[in-house]
């Protein structure tokens, strides 16, 4: 059962499920495909009436990524084409609580730290830098320099405090130690631009990268000479990828080829399913943390879709069936 939200004139760039509310997602969208014009941040609730907007804010430039606070269910941060990060409060319908403008070019990624005892934001920008912020966005705490290209993706490790993975147009995946403000690892992960990366939720050493070369590489950071898995199937650049919160070896990817693909790199062949329900680039993707196998995605075709891909449900029912047999 697919639930669809339409955002006329706004092309989806990122969608993130709330870590607090099982029925809430946030979507960063932009006018004119994000090439020019303004942006909109949407908060959508899944209700019996369908997917409805409960809050929306306009921003003067395109919005390219959004992340929910891991500490406060009302807060979220978005990154914009004007180089700004904005802190938004769902209880405040007018202006952002705070705007921080330090990046000199487009902010393409924001991530909120997930480890206990740490409450930080990281942003990645086309100005080649990664910046770490306290959650009030007063001033950046650290600027991480080293990428020789545009930074497309920055994600906190869900396991290791103060550890960030970043993916860049320079073809490298980098692992950063925020406390020491140094790059611990630079992995030449693809021979092309890398648009996406994510950490495995079950193994602190596993990171996946998605590239313009249409492939996904799964890396074990203890041995980076070659990827532990190389996933082929997409026919255009991979724009975003996410590990499943429920299975160690399952991940989802969305692409400029209009599809969302689900993979289990523990299986052979690894491709579980290809979902073709968009008519434009699919840029945003997330797993729901509360409802196993529920996925949300957004596309340049002006839609946000929530669905439960059959391949994941089948897998879980098979697993449940197996348990029942025991």
């Amino acid at each position: 059962m697919i639930k669809v939200f339409r955002s006329p004139g706004r092309h989806g760039y990122a969608v993130e499920a709330s870590p607090f509310l099982p029925n809430r997602v946030a979507c960063a969208a932009s006018q004119y495909y994000g090439i020019t014009g303004c942006g909109t941040l949407l908060v959508l609730d899944e209700t019996p009436r369908g997917l409805v907007s409960v809050r929306s804010w306009e921003w003067g430039d395109g919005l390219f990524d959004v992340a929910w606070s891991e500490a406060n269910e009302h807060l979220l941060v978005a990154g914009g084409g004007d180089g700004s990060l904005q802190l938004w409060d769902t209880a405040n319908q007018h202006a952002p609580l705070k705007v921080a403008k330090e990046h000199t070019q487009e902010v393409y990624s924001v991530s909120w730290s997930q480890t206990r005892g740490e409450n930080l934001i990281v942003s990645g920008s086309w100005d080649h830098t990664v910046k770490v912020w306290d959650p009030s966005l007063s001033r950046s705490l650290t600027t991480l320099r080293g990428h020789e290209g545009v930074v497309y993706s920055t994600i906190w490790s869900p396991h290791i405090p103060g550890c960030i993975a970043s993916a860049s147009g320079d073809g490298t995946l980098r692992i950063w130690d925020v406390k020491a403000a140094v790059c611990r690892l630079a992995v030449p992960a693809h021979q092309a631009e890398i648009l996406a990366c994510d950490w495995c939720k079950y193994d602190q050493n596993i990171v996946a990268t998605g590239s313009v070369d249409c492939s996904i590489n799964v890396w074990d950071l203890r041995n980076i000479r070659q990827p532990v898995n190389h996933l082929l199937g997409h026919t255009y650049a991979i724009r975003r990828l996410k590990f499943s919160p429920f299975s160690q070896t399952v991940l989802a990817s969305c692409s400029y080829d209009f599809t969302v693909r689900f993979w289990d790199f523990g299986m052979n062949p690894p491709l579980l399913d290809t979902v073709e329900h968009h008519s434009e680039f699919v840029c945003g993707l997330d797993f729901n943390l509360h409802i196993p196998n529920q996925v949300v995605d957004c596309s340049w075709d002006e839609t946000v879709k929530i669905y439960a891909p059959a391949c994941l449900s089948a897998g879980s029912s098979a697993a449940q069936g197996a348990q029942a047999d025991d």
């Binding site: 090439i35 020019t36 290209g149 147009g169 631009e193 255009y236």
Partner: protein, 424 residues
């Protein structure tokens, strides 16, 4: 528009990485809009004669120069009064031929009000003349200029090094500047492992490509026939018209090349067959600001998109193009893959092979009409000659494309320029 460019890059895998390449920098002659482009209108060259043996052996360089200066302007119907400046590349004449150039100027019927100057950057002098005129156009000193190159290696030799300090012997780099060119070729071959077989195969290719181009008449459009005289061995003068390159040997074989003895050291790999020939010749290229060129109703044969001259160690001066070409491409915002034709001067097969391999250039893109091994290398003329040959080749291919002209430079430099052929 940066965002559009970045996203377009995502859709065409294999496109250059982001970073500096992605910035929408105005580059090369494009700065200031298309009207400000530095464009090539037309170019002509003489046939290239074999020094001391060929049809130009008794022809003074002012005559060669005058032939091409006149031909270029006549072809496009431009009065010499319109020229803002004339620059002539020359290496061997005293003072780079400043006097000779002004004489050629008057022999061509150019008015005294038009100035002329010469430039000597060794083997890149002909290209440097183009770049000097381009610089004057960009600085808005002039709108239109004639860039030329000329050399008579029959009448002047490379033997006189001029007056040099005795301290030269204590400075290794300075000392390397007087290493004979053939020895720099041996150095390149040894240091970078370019074997004799590769050099000979490259030389054979040059001869075959030049012979093919000659037999198909591909050079007819660029060569201005020159009527001159030669003095025979018995002292008799004879009139003749030179209209074919004299160094091309269609009958060259790999076997024949492999039998030649090393020319510069006994155990060397550089031979007369895999080195450039000593030659006489001239070339001229009409260059202008696009807005001025269009206002005069003149055609645009090529657009200068970038150029660079870089320094390299003098004792391996032949590697210059391997450093100059990337610098010029970067300025133009292009990569090796974007270039259809490379005119890389074949001072020696050793250095040409090294540069081509170092840059990963597919061999079929290099000197499609042959190079200096077959055609000859009249030092000051070569750069301008290559521009003429390149743009004619791109014109024959018909579609919009980019080409590069490059050469190594004695005393340790490389020069390169990127041209765009705008299409029919």
């Amino acid at each position: 528009m940066l965002r559009l460019k970045v996203i377009s890059g995502h859709l065409s895998p294999g496109s250059p990485h982001t970073g500096p390449d992605l910035r929408a920098t105005r580059c090369g002659a494009a700065a200031g809009g298309p009207g400000e482009d530095v464009v090539v209108v037309h170019g002509r060259r003489t046939a290239i004669g074999r020094a001391k043996k060929g049809g130009f052996k008794d022809t003074t360089p002012d005559e060669l120069l005058s032939a091409v200066m006149t031909a270029v302007l006549t072809d496009v119907g431009l009065s010499p009064h319109q020229l803002g400046d004339v620059c002539v590349g020359n290496v061997l004449q005293p003072g780079a031929g400043a006097l000779m150039a002004r004489v050629a100027h008057f022999l061509s019927g150019f008015p005294e009000t038009v100035p002329v100057f010469t430039v000597n950057r060794q083997c890149s002098s002909g290209l440097q003349a183009v770049l000097n005129i381009a610089g004057a156009i960009r600085s808005r000193t002039i709108d239109l200029g004639l860039a030329c190159g000329v050399e008579s290696m029959s009448l002047q030799s490379m033997s006189n090094p001029g007056d040099l300090s005795a301290r030269l012997s204590q400075n290794p780099k300075a000392r390397d500047c007087i290493v004979p060119m053939g020895i720099t070729s041996e150095n390149v071959a040894e240091r970078f492992g370019v074997c004799r077989q590769k050099q000979d195969a490259f030389a054979l290719g040059s001869q075959q490509k030049a012979a093919r181009a000659q037999s198909l008449g591909l050079f007819e459009r660029e060569i201005t026939p020159v009527s001159t005289r030669v003095v025979d061995s018995d002292g008799r003068e004879r009139q003749l018209t030179v209209s074919r390159d004299e160094g091309v040997r269609a009958e060259t074989t790999l076997e024949g090349l492999s039998k030649l003895r090393p020319a510069f050291k006994p155990d060397g790999t550089t031979t007369a067959g895999n080195s450039s020939q000593v030659s006489d010749g001239a070339a001229a290229v009409l260059v202008g600001r696009r807005s001025a060129v269009e206002a005069l109703g003149l055609p645009v044969l090529g657009v200068l998109r970038g150029s660079a001259v870089v320094g390299v160690p003098p004792d391996v001066m032949g590697i210059g193009p391997a450093y100059a070409i990337p610098a010029a491409l970067k300025q133009a915002g292009l990569t090796v893959d974007d270039i259809d034709v490379f005119e890389i001067n074949e001072a020696f097969a050793s250095q040409a092979v090294y540069c081509v391999e170092k840059l990963g250039i597919p061999m079929e893109k290099v000197n499609p009409c042959g190079g200096a091994i077959a055609l000859g290398h009249p030092l000051g003329c070569t750069g301008a000659r290559q521009v003429v040959t390149l743009l004619n080749e791109l014109r024959r291919r018909g579609r919009r494309a980019y080409g590069v002209v490059s050469m190594c430079i004695g005393t340790g430099m490389g020069a390169a320029a990127v041209f765009e052929y705008p299409g029919l």
